[in-house]
């Protein structure tokens, strides 16, 4: 086990350096059609730099840049509609497009007609009916796990129920409208709340209104642990591409899929749902289920890894009590983070922004009625609708295939790597500074608030009954939420 994980860590570092060398000569050009090709380190940072607030405040987007983006969106939209078999929609999109050279339009039209000629047959492991039947069983399983095993019931119960409703034949509860006939209600939940990105963001606002960043402010350097733990995200991303490369076509993910799978390692529901709904809506069901299931399994997944990489002595380290944090610092904090995000990574501002809006409402204490509603009525209403809407993406032809197994496996790896990375960085930090921190709090960096922090606390008390790590673990824990939102922003900027 330890060997495996260590190998993975080393491997990725080696691979990284290999690339560092061979990719330098690379031109870093970004193809017009926005699917990142031949992106070198240099090219990537360059692209990212052009998407920073610092750069854009000084060089607003030019008409040319906007035109290029428009072209990219057009191609992407048509591709998506074609691969979903919506040929009519694709043609309409092409007709709607304006200010695009006719060659491109002709080319796209051809592409659509060719695809239409080939016809569209959703790939299925099982016949439609059987698939629906199995998915209903999957839904029941999720509900069982939620109720009997206590797996994140707030999300998995609605998701499971949504999966059942979606796979009922005839009823068409997740189908869109046809001519004059209204669509099913889950279709509207999905379009209004998920396609638009509104629901996960509102939940993130509520989470912000529930989160106390005090422990992080009191001991900021623990935020580094929240950064390290995001390593799992990118290992899983790499893994998804590796599977595609070596599974001989059995499993296949493109870069956007890989990014969506990686984000499972962020151990943060709203972030996973938001990113996946942007990059690969077809994977939304599997990704969300994996993310919430593993978050629920944190008390089972993390401890062995934590013990593996720490000695009893290390686990017994007690940390000095956290300093008092003033009200004003807590009020300033969300604004500081927002500003950093604006300057460095605007693509992450929807997530970070809403998280910090919620937190500002809480800490400012001048809009308590809004903050209360954000963390109660509003988040509950949205949770019900978001859960069922996510469940509506658990359709047989999307879920019952080898890819889903890959997603589940990679998600688990992501959690393990993230945990290990957090613990290892903690140990490294102890080497470098005299002020010792308990490496157990490193694992809390994956977020999964507040479960992971509780796990750190539990193991700490096992090693030393007087060792209360919870508050110390909350620092990396909440930093991990910010960390995965940042990772999501990077992926949106480079792959989106």
């Amino acid at each position: 086990m330890k060997r495996l994980i260590t190998i993975l860590l080393v491997a990725s570092v080696v691979l990284g350096s290999v690339v560092l060398v061979q990719a330098q000569d690379d031109s870093g050009i970004v193809e017009k059609d926005a699917t990142v090709r031949h992106l070198s380190i240099g090219g990537g940072f360059q692209k990212l730099w052009k998407e920073t607030g610092i750069y854009r405040f000084i060089h607003p987007k030019t008409a040319e840049e906007k035109a290029v983006e428009y072209r990219a969106i057009l191609i992407q939209t048509v591709d998506a509609e074609v691969s979903a078999g919506h040929f009519q929609g694709a043609m309409e999109t092409i007709h709607k497009a304006h200010g695009v050279d006719d060659e491109l339009l002709a080319e796209l039209t051809q592409k659509v007609e060719a695809a239409e000629a080939r016809g569209f047959e959703p790939s299925r492991l099982l016949p439609e009916g059987a698939g629906q039947f199995v998915m209903i069983l999957v839904g029941l399983l999720l509900i069982f796990l939620a109720i009997k095993k206590g797996f994140e019931p707030l999300l998995l119960l609605p998701i499971g129920f949504g999966a059942i409703l979606t796979n009922i034949p005839v009823a068409g509860i997740a189908d869109g409208p046809i001519l004059g006939q209204a669509g099913g209600f889950l279709y509207y939940f999905y379009m209004v709340g998920v396609e638009s990105g509104v629901f996960p963001l509102l939940i993130f606002m509520g989470v912000g209104a529930m989160t106390d960043f005090g422990p992080l402010l009191a001991n900021p350097k623990t935020a580094l642990l929240g950064a390290a733990a995001q390593f799992g995200i990118f290992i899983a991303l790499l893994g998804a591409l590796a599977l595609t490369h070596w599974s001989g076509g059995l499993i296949s993910f493109d870069l956007r899929d890989a990014a969506s799978i990686g984000i499972i390692g962020g151990a943060d529901g709203p972030t996973s749902i938001f990113l996946t709904s942007r990059l690969s809506p077809n994977l939304l069901g599997a990704v969300a289920v994996a993310a919430y299931s593993y978050m629920a399994l944190v008390p089972i997944i993390q401890p062995p890894i934590m013990r593996l990489f720490t000695t009893k002595a290390e686990r017994a380290i007690t940390m000095k009590q956290l300093r008092h944090v003033s009200k004003t610092e807590k009020i300033i904090f969300p604004l500081m983070v927002l500003i950093i995000c604006i300057l460095l990574l605007p693509s992450a501002t929807p997530l970070i922004g809403m998280l910090m809006l919620g937190n500002l409402m809480k800490e400012s204490a001048v809009v308590d009625r809004l903050s209360d509603t954000a963390q109660n009525a509003l988040i509950n209403i949205v949770t019900i609708m978001l859960g069922t809407a996510v469940g509506s993406k658990l359709a047989a032809d999307k879920f019952l295939n080898a890819n889903t197994l890959g997603i589940l496996a990679l998600g688990l790896i992501a959690f393990c790597i993230g945990t290990a990375a957090g613990v290892l960085l903690a140990k490294l930090m102890n080497k470098l500074s005299k002020e010792q921190i308990n490496p157990l709090i490193g694992s809390a960096g994956v977020s999964a608030v507040p479960m992971a922090a509780r796990v750190s606390n539990k193991l700490g008390m096992e090693a030393n009954a007087q060792n209360f790590l919870l508050m110390h673990a909350m620092g990396p824990n909440v930093a991990g939420v910010i960390g995965s939102a940042v990772a999501a922003g990077v992926l949106l900027a480079l792959v989106g």
Binding site: A23, A223, L237, L238, H245, E329, L491
Partner: protein
Amino acid sequence: MDSLIQGVVLMIIGMATVFAFLVLMILAINSSAGFFRKYAHLFPEEHPAVPKKTTLTNPDVEIAVALAAIRAKRG
């Protein structure tokens, strides 16, 4: 192989950005902490300047108060 390289590139850029972001955040926190330690006296821990009451508030309460006062005055 190509796509794998893409993955590694994303990993390096991604982790670099995550660390850069959080390091910046740490610096910001520390400086703000320093600032408020230095000028703590300027920011007493009192409650915010705003009264909870706002245009969204129910006047009834007010009236109750006034009434009470009036009665007090009378009795």
